[in-house]
Symmetry: C2
Subunit: 354 residues, 2 copies
């Protein structure tokens, strides 16, 4: 593999000195880019795009042509694992993901198994190694997975949900069934992320999109506990270099201390917490990634730049900050506004790293 | 008016001694009750139900026939104020509320005015006084309003939203326009809640359903500031008795200290914070209302009782707690499960008030 030219992102995750704050955007390869929409059209369905390593690499690299980003992220879906478990994933227009065979009982749960990474999910590893080759050492590649709790919400609800009624009913009345499901998922995520690391991922992020709908107690027992198991099971080094792990629970601002206790290297933050407060609470234990409200990208380039300056000043001096949005970029955003954001970080952050 | 027989709810809001923890449920008059669905069918549309004082009183009192609740809440909609401003409110099946004339510019905003409480919103005050008469002093009646920020989200987005893109774009790029809208709304809410209090409401709650989608800074500037103005403008006493004010920001657990600074008597909590931690943070400044995950009502009555016991123990000894769900009861809930919840509070809470 080509030697890594820009390791700002990896260094910041390990709180090592950098020349400026690194930056990337969640969903940076996505619908807000016309070139993405063109490739998607060519590829067919969303999963066709994920399953074709050339197309997946093409869309992963598209935002790098436009913006001086410090990391690329594997283009894939968070539901690849339940799909590989045979739950019958479909994407319905306007409805989002649907599983034809949702998990509703211990009998259903007992049939779940850790997918085979080569035969069932080999297409993801092929995408990872293709992207690594195509990046040619320019910037690091992030691998990712959904958290067990987040994956389980889709598997049990049968798709997206507003109330999470079915998974919570199971959590309250059949906790052993839910723990069984989460345990198989945690083992699957460990195997999945380790396979991505072996295929070339240089950092990994666990997306816990729905952990924030839980009480503190239930978050600890049903989401964080399994993310902790994953962190413990990961290959944390590859090719002689540390592979940092980022945990991101949307709405998890109240639980940062517990999240840092997992041994993750960095925590993702949404915008409902001030990053200075988050930094004071976690101290030097972890790096922080975030945390600009993605809606700011609807505002003018001047206002975007102002917001970047505010967040940089809030974080203050020193390494340990990866600039990002607090959630994925919205599909309606003007790419020029994304560019204004990225440029503002690259131009304004050097002063905090003297 | 008949003398109040059960003032447990009002006393707890003022942190005065009580014999047991009072309890009510957000949306306790609602779709989970077959008798509500029957009245709704008879009344016609949802707004027809709100506009008819006999029907509104009937549904308000329905849950009291089933459960030993310690408070009733006016049956109405949070969008009565923008409706009275002439924005053209409709309810679309599956889509929720829609405004035909959303507010998008300073020109639109300048046309907004404080509705006349007698001619534009008299039907709400008629419902309040009818309900007070029908309650006949059994338990207190809660009046309510949406917060300015929450009302503005619907008025600017034109209905429900997931991303709040339009109101946030206005917040970032045209803050003066948004402040103008919020200011007219705050004045309207003051007039509206004072009229409800004069008509007989014995406590009032401000529902800030969407304040939790903001950054801490934007929450302070665009939501909390206007709730503070409302608290300052309310008639806090009626008929020689204090009228307590409850502020409820869903997802506001991180900002309780600032919410208490408004001078509200009580704060509503959702379930993402432990009530013992909330109590420790706000001390004796305010009472707390909440905070059971509404999804627990999908679980078995035994499990529900266990959860009630946990939350009572977390709050601990003494007054200052009004038991409630952390959000409205879901329409699919079995009324017997709601009963198991209410009964558990009445049976298990006495020990904390010795």
């Amino acid at each position: 593999m080509a030697e890594l030219q820009n390791d700002r992102f990896l260094r910041a995750l390990l709180r090592e000195p950098v020349d400026r704050t690194p930056v990337w955007m969640m969903r940076q390869a996505g619908r807000y880019l016309p070139e993405y929409r063109a490739t998607r059209k060519e590829a067919g369905s969303f999963m066709d795009l994920c399953r074709n390593k050339e197309f997946a690499s093409e869309v992963t690299l598209q935002p790098l042509e436009r913006f001086p980003l410090d990391a690329a992220i594997l283009f894939s879906d968070i539901l690849t694992i339940p799909d590989a478990m045979g739950l019958g994933l479909r994407f319905e227009t306007g409805e989002g993901p649907v599983f034809d065979k949702p998990i509703r009982s211990m009998a259903d749960a007992k049939k779940l198994y850790v997918p085979d990474m080569a035969s069932d999910l080999g297409y993801v590893m092929d995408a990872v190694s293709t992207i690594r080759k195509d990046l040619n050492g320019s910037i690091p590649l992030i691998g990712f997975s959904g958290s067990p709790w987040t994956l389980a919400t889709y598997m049990i609800e049968g798709g997206s949900s507003k109330t999470f009624a079915k998974i919570k009913a199971m959590m309250f009345d059949q906790p052993a069934t839910l723990h069984h499901i989460l345990d198989v998922l945690a083992d699957s995520v460990i195997a999945y992320l380790n396979a991505q690391i072996e295929a070339g991922a240089q950092a990994v992020q666990i997306f816990d999109t729905w952990g924030g709908v839980l009480t503190p107690r239930d978050y600890n027992e049903f989401s964080l506990r399994y993310m902790h198991k994953i962190v413990d099971g990961l290959k944390r080094e590859n090719d002689g270099r540390k592979v940092p792990v980022i945990l991101f629970t949307k709405g998890g601002g109240q639980w940062l201390e517990a999240m840092a206790d997992t041994g993750a290297d960095a925590l993702g933050l949404d915008w409902t917490i001030n990053i200075d407060e988050a930094r004071a609470r976690v101290g030097n234990r972890v790096a922080l990634q975030g945390n600009m409200d993605p809606c700011i990208l609807y505002a003018s380039p001047e206002r975007i730049r102002e917001e970047v300056a505010t967040i940089l000043a809030q974080y203050g001096n020193g390494s340990g900050h990866v600039f990002n949005l607090g959630h994925g970029i919205h599909p309606e955003i003007n790419p020029e506004h994304a560019g204004a954001f990225i440029n503002a970080v690259t131009e304004l952050s050097g002063q905090y790293h003297k």
